[in-house]
């Protein structure tokens, strides 16, 4: 089976003034369609960097990134934006909701970018909020939500768009036990029933217990997986 995502000899060096920090040092990884995969590792091991490169949010210093047979590390800005819009969903660690939009509008935002009509996108977004137990907060703005509630809205935003792949950076980090488990169950359902591939970076043992595959990153290199 052809991998949905593949990276080859992937390197990423951050340069700040004259200081260089090597975040990834030649990572090779293949992610297959329908994978439910976690990238684990200590802080600073390069988990978030790898997620960014997998999703075309950043460009590698060296190496290759492939999405469904297409090399994406050489695409221009607009091509990458299109790729993200139609194929890849993100759940960011810091929620990253848009403050002037309500929870419902945030959840529907990617659909709006795709040009889905208002009634349809709000229906789909509301269903996603319902699955995450925050439908009653749909009209609230992010500053009226707790950290956990904001995280669920951010997850709903990624889920509502039903992309081919969802890349999630610590998606259960701010959720209580019950909501965290419900979210994991919902993502498993989407994985099985809707064919969405999930890639997490996580420390959460609840999530690590449920994934099919764990890739351990240590010092910017794949240790196991």
């Amino acid at each position: 089976m052809e991998p949905i995502l593949r990276v080859k000899s992937l390197k990423k060096i951050y340069r700040l003034d004259s200081v260089e920090t090597e975040a990834l040092r030649g990572v090779d990884l293949e992610i297959l369609p329908l994978d439910f995969l976690a990238i684990a590792g200590p802080s600073g091991s390069g988990k978030s960097t790898l997620l960014h490169l997998l999703g075309g949010l950043d460009r590698p210093t060296d190496g290759e990134v492939w999405f469904t047979g297409q090399r994406i590390d050489r695409l221009d800005r607009n091509q990458l934006a299109d790729l993200r819009l139609w194929n890849i969903g993100y759940v960011f660690q810091a929620y990253n909701l848009i403050p002037v939009l309500t929870a419902l509008e945030n959840a529907a935002f990617v659909l709006e970018l795709r040009g889905v009509g208002r009634a349809q996108r709000e229906k789909v977004a509301l269903e996603a909020l319902e699955h995450l137990g925050v439908a009653e907060l749909a009209r609230r703005r992010p500053n009226q939500l707790s950290g956990g509630q904001q995280q669920r809205v951010a997850v709903a935003r990624a889920l509502a768009a039903e992309p081919k792949v969802i890349l999630a950076d610590e998606p259960t980090a701010n959720l209580d036990s019950k909501t965290g488990l419900a979210l994991i169950a919902h993502m498993q359902h989407l994985n099985r029933e809707h064919g969405i591939t999930f890639v997490f970076s996580t420390h959460d043992p609840r999530l690590l217990e449920q994934v099919q595959r764990i890739v351990h990153l240590v010092d910017g290199q794949v240790a196991t997986g």
Binding site: L57, R84, F92, N96, L97, I98, R114
Partner: protein, 409 residues
């Protein structure tokens, strides 16, 4: 996207309100300026068409000829009948202008004697506006004359006094004595010092029996009557009816200086208006740019979620346009209220009023604004919104998502 842009511009309420007020003031000034220019142009047009007619008929080549006789329309009564038949709606005023020497007891001046046969309504309006004392010469009294006030002072004559006119080398008597029955106050001091008016019969008896220098065709006064849309076909029909020996001119052609003024005044006003909008635009740039700097993380998120460069640019441009449109709504409403109130009639104070009279502008003006003026103002509004937001939009579109999401303002 509209909701997002609209809410974004109100996040820093004070800053956005300042930008909206700046645009509103620019629009307000623009609308008032256009209204005042409309008042001056309309006033000038109505004054000129009132005193010189909407169309004039002359002998062909009259401008080039130096010989008084060659510029005359002979057997004027026949020509006047033809004109009246061709344009029944117009009042036809025959005019005979005679260059002459006018003398009092001790002093003499070169003048232009104008013999007129005006219909009663036009004559009354002329008297209301320019007669300072006495009355205008009556049609069948060839011996009566009205003098410009400055001319009367130069010749040292007053009402009831006698002046003597000499028009040598003409076809009439060539010399005659007249009784001063009226004193005029003409706004242009040069004209006031060189103008005398008598009846058409009086002028013809002096210089050219049965002849006139021109015919003036006065249409019922309206803004449309002064427009080329009405005058151009009339001019064509008249030219055809009168034949090749005559020249038909619109009031604009008779007064090329006014046409030049009309051509200049609009670009001149638009330069001023552009200046207002540049100032307002600077405030809009400031508002949009600061707003961009405060929201770099959000632009990172939006880009990360799949918004391309074009969409980010459109989003920021929309914010600029919305700020300007909000200002335009306020400014346009206030501006139209001011112009509406000035449309009932207004006068400039003191010396300004005297100055405007010298340029042939009536003392009472009526502000008017054309749909084209509103369209031009709105074009300025949209251009300001787009140009002010263009640079911030370009900056926003160049942000890299990961770097932008890490940005701490």
């Amino acid at each position: 996207m509209f909701a997002l842009s609209w809410r974004n511009i109100w996040r820093q309420r004070t800053r956005s309100i300042a930008a909206v007020i700046a645009v509103a003031l620019a629009v307000l000034f623009a609308v008032i300026y256009f209204g005042l220019v409309g008042a001056v142009v309309t006033g000038l047009q109505s004054n000129l068409t009132e005193s010189l007619g909407h169309l004039q008929v002359h002998v062909r080549g009259y401008r080039e000829t130096r010989e008084f006789r060659e510029a005359l329309i002979r057997i004027a009564a026949v020509a006047q009948r033809r004109l009246s038949a061709a344009v029944p709606a117009a009042d036809v005023v025959p005019v005979l202008e005679v260059p002459a020497l006018l003398s009092g007891e001790d002093r003499a001046r070169g003048v232009l004697l104008a013999g007129l046969a005006q219909p009663a309504a036009i004559r009354e309006r002329f008297a209301d506006r320019y007669l300072a004392a006495g009355r205008l010469p009556v049609g069948d009294r060839a011996e009566e004359i009205a003098l410009g006030g400055a001319l009367a002072r130069t010749l040292q004559v007053s009402l009831g006094g006698t002046v003597y006119a000499y028009a040598p080398g003409t076809d009439g008597l060539g010399a005659a004595a007249y009784t001063v029955v009226g004193l005029l106050h003409l706004p242009d001091p040069i004209v006031d010092a060189r103008y005398a008016q008598l009846s058409l019969a009086g002028a013809q008896e002096l210089a050219a029996p049965d002849a006139v220098s021109r015919f003036e065709l006065h249409l019922p006064q309206s803004a449309a009557a002064s427009g080329e849309a009405v005058l151009a076909p009339l001019r064509r029909d008249l030219a055809r009816a009168m034949g090749a020996a005559f020249e038909v001119e619109t009031w604009r052609e008779v007064n090329p200086s006014l046409s030049a003024l009309e051509r200049i005044i609009r670009p001149w006003v638009m330069t001023f208006i552009a200046f207002f909008f540049v100032l307002a635009g600077l405030l809009v740039v400031n508002t949009i740019y600061l707003s961009l700097v405060e929201r770099i993380r959000e632009f990172g998120i939006i880009t990360a979620l799949g918004a391309g460069r074009g969409r980010v640019i459109r989003m920021v441009l929309l914010e600029g346009i919305l700020l300007c449109v909000a200002g335009a709504a306020v400014g346009m409403t206030l501006g139209l209220l001011v112009v509406g109130s000035l449309a009932k009639g207004f006068s400039y104070p003191g010396e300004l009023a005297e100055m405007q009279a010298q340029f042939g502008i009536p003392p009472v003006l009526y502000a008017s604004i054309q749909p084209a003026d509103i369209v031009i103002t709105l074009v300025f509004v949209f251009a300001t919104g787009i140009l002010a937001a263009l640079w911030p939009a370009w900056v926003a579109s160049r942000l890299e998502p990961v770097e932008a999401m890490r940005f701490i303002p």
